[in-house]
């Protein structure tokens, strides 16, 4: 009897140990890989300063999780899905990276999420825009955090249509993000009684927009929409100004503008442009305080992506601490169960498709007279509540969502 008791006791002890081995941080390290465009068109919206935001999150968290240390690796993906894929493959297969952060070009995020799914690691996409990332390209291994093309269209496009811009001509960057933006804008414009009279797909990136602006003018559309980002958008805006687009009565709608772009254009050139944003540095005391710290570290004010990287990393580390695990599914499930109300997001939560929904804001660029310093650029016109802003689950094509 005693022997069998011992056996049962040992077996029970082993079972408990085996069970708790899952809720454990592998090799006592939480390793985060930061992947972004560090030298090209999209450098300033995330880039090296995004890495600084990540480091701030880790430092504020205390530098360690339940005794396990936190390590960072980083790489420049040069907006290339090929380079990104091989880098992330190396990270998850050889370097024990647990979570990939940053992720800017939409094509990069889509490519990387496949590799993460294969290896059951976690990715938190902060920079990319394409709503397809949590729609047809959703996986159980990534979260889309800051914004996407759906609220951008809902905010900016519906505002412009309701202000009288019924006919639209769309200049689209010819890759994943541009296509997603164009699809979402088309849907919103038509739902609000407008009409798309023409679209043009330009190569990504494009240095000279004169030919495309000319075609937009020739279309006679009331609104010329820019479904592109970064240098493409600023080039297009400058060329539009040179060719007198707004002066002769057309409205220019820039669908994706970051603070870094508006800062480069300046209040003089960008005044009056309406845009949708997930966050702005000057919204309240909390955002200002964090932005001041960011400014001290980097010399520039943060974009919504920088703030999103900080917030998502903090949420990730909290989830790792709470579940005592760095297993992707465990952490992701916990993150989905935890509401987010911090410096970055109000009324935030992560849905089953990986989409983090939170309040978005329609903003307008201030005039030079209203702008008190070089970074005082937006005025917030209205809040778009989380539930209205993002694609409803009922319309989702994501296989993770149970739609009958």
């Amino acid at each position: 009897m005693k022997t069998s008791n011992k056996i049962v006791a040992t077996a029970a002890a082993l079972a408990v140990l085996a069970g708790s081995a899952h809720a454990e941080i592998a090799d006592d390290t939480v390793k985060i890989g930061y992947l972004a465009d560090m030298s090209g068109t999209y450098r300033d919206l995330a880039g090296p300063n995004g890495l600084k935001a990540l480091e701030m999150a880790i430092a504020d968290f205390g530098g360690e999780v339940n005794g396990a240390k936190i390590e960072i690796v980083s790489a420049d993906d040069r907006n290339s899905p090929d380079i990104a894929s091989s880098t992330v493959r190396r990270w998850v297969e050889n370097d024990n990276v647990d979570m990939v952060a940053g992720l800017v070009a939409s094509s990069v995020s889509i490519a990387v999420s496949d590799i993460l799914e294969e290896n059951d690691k976690l990715g938190i996409v902060s920079g990319s825009a394409a709503s397809s990332i949590t729609n047809e390209h959703c996986t159980p291994n990534h979260i889309h955090y800051v914004y996407d093309t759906y609220p951008l269209a809902n905010g900016t496009a519906s505002a412009v249509v309701n202000q009288g811009g019924k006919t639209w001509y769309i200049l689209t960057a010819d890759y994943a993000f541009g296509h997603a933006m164009e699809a979402d804008v088309t849907r919103v414009v038509e739902a609000n009684g407008g009409e798309i009279v023409g679209t043009l797909r330009h190569p990504f990136p494009t240095p000279d927009f004169s030919s495309f602006i000319l075609q937009a003018q020739a279309s006679g559309a009331e609104v010329v929409a820019l479904a592109n980002a970064g240098a493409d958008t600023t080039n297009a805006i400058n060329t539009a100004s040179e060719f007198g687009v707004t002066q002769s009565g057309q409205t220019l709608a820039a669908l994706l503008l970051f603070l870094s772009d508006v800062h480069a254009l300046g209040a003089e050139a960008a005044q009056g442009i309406q845009l949708t944003t997930g966050w702005y540095w000057d919204m309240n005391e909390e955002t200002r305080a964090w932005s001041d710290r960011f400014l001290a570290k980097t010399g520039v004010r943060p974009t919504m992506v920088h703030a999103g990287i900080y917030s998502s990393t903090t949420q990730y580390l909290k989830a790792v601490a709470a579940t005592e695990s760095d297993d992707a599914q465990t952490v992701r499930t916990h993150m989905m169960e935890t509401p987010i109300n911090d410096m970055f997001a109000k009324n935030g939560r992560i849905r089953i498709d990986g989409r983090m929904v939170h309040d978005m804001y329609l903003a307008e660029v201030k005039t030079p007279a209203e702008s008190k310093d070089e970074w005082d650029l937006y005025k917030i016109l209205q809040t778009i509540p989380a539930d209205e802003a993002y694609r409803p689950l009922s319309e989702s094509q994501c296989p993770l969502v149970e739609n009958s």
Partner: protein, 318 residues
């Protein structure tokens, strides 16, 4: 005295859209008026390509150096224009003369300290060396200035444009085409028709013989490289008011300009100019009929030309 012309111009400038034109001719579905506008833009961009490929053709044709730093020199020209204005108030007109000279000096320094070491070796070394130099320059400037772009205001005299009927042409674009073609022609003339040009052509063909005549060939080579760089920097100054001035603005353009030079024929000065304009037009037409291919069409032409006429359209067989 002209006030900011744009604000006066409230008339619709696309006549055909108002329905006032009698018969609207279309070619492959594109109205003739739109096509004319696109062709004009194509010629303007072509003049730009011509200016850039001219410098490259001079450096390769005469010096046999594959200058992968050409895009970076163009970028330095644009960045210097902005920086000199912000720091010293140097205006556009002065910059047109001063900036190419300054950047040209940078070119001379690169040639003297770096390229001279590998003179006479395989072309590939000059490609790698200049490519490395370009990456270095771009990286350092990206570190300081970021990639979002520096602001440079259009000179007041060029603000606004003229209504041509089929399109609205900004004055500045008209200026670009005029001055680019002028500089191209002047350069071609100098190299093909003057004594200095003759020395240059002879010196690079047979440097020992020329040195025997007492001509300082190494100096000539440095100055030639500097001159090619000056042309790139001049294009950069022209670009500053209309294109985003960023440290990476040259990297995209460089490959296209190389394709233009290869199509024209690596040794031909006149060929580079004509091909530049031609490719601008080809690209412009592609942007009208099938925009997604507009970045790639010049390379398609390059492939076809290399298969049919490996020396290029105007090149001489090596």
């Amino acid at each position: 005295m002209r006030t900011a012309g744009i604000h006066d111009n409230r008339t619709p400038y696309y006549v055909f859209a108002s329905g006032g034109v009698g018969s609207m001719v279309t070619i492959f579905g594109v109205p003739l008026a739109v096509l004319s506008g696109q062709l004009l833009i194509g010629v303007i961009n072509g003049a730009f390509y011509a200016l850039l490929s001219l410098g490259l053709a001079i450096i390769f044709g005469l010096l046999k150096i594959i200058n992968f730093a050409h895009g970076a020199m163009y970028m330095l020209g644009a960045m210097a224009t902005v920086v000199l204005f912000d720091a010293f108030g140097i205006n556009y007109w002065v910059a047109l003369f001063v900036v190419p000279v300054l950047v040209g000096l940078v070119g001379v320094v690169i040639e003297y300290f770096l390229l001279r070491r590998i003179a006479g070796q395989d072309h590939i070394y000059s490609l790698l060396l200049t490519f490395g130099a370009a990456l270095l320059i771009q990286g350092v400037l990206t570190n300081f200035y970021g990639v979002s772009g520096l602001r440079y205001a259009m000179p007041d005299v060029f603000k606004g444009g003229m209504n041509l009927g089929f399109m609205f042409l900004p004055y500045y674009r008209a200026w670009v085409i005029a001055v680019a073609l002028l500089v191209c022609f002047a350069t071609w003339f100098m190299i093909e028709k003057t004594k200095l040009g003759a020395y240059l052509r002879a010196g690079t063909e047979d440097s020992q013989l020329m040195q025997g005549f007492g001509i300082n060939v190494p100096l000539l080579i440095s100055l030639t490289y500097g001159f090619g760089v000056m042309l790139a920097a001049f294009a950069g100054v022209l670009a500053a008011p209309i294109y985003s001035v960023t440290p990476i603005m040259g990297s995209h353009l460089l490959i296209t300009v190389f394709a233009v030079v290869v199509i024209g024929g690596m040794g031909s000065i006149g060929g580079a100019i004509i091909t530049g304009i031609l490719m601008g037009v080809v690209e412009g037409l592609t942007k009208t009929f099938y925009p997604p291919a507009s970045s790639a069409v010049i390379f398609l032409v390059m492939v076809v030309v290399l298969m049919c006429r490996p020396a290029g359209l105007f090149g001489k067989e090596a």
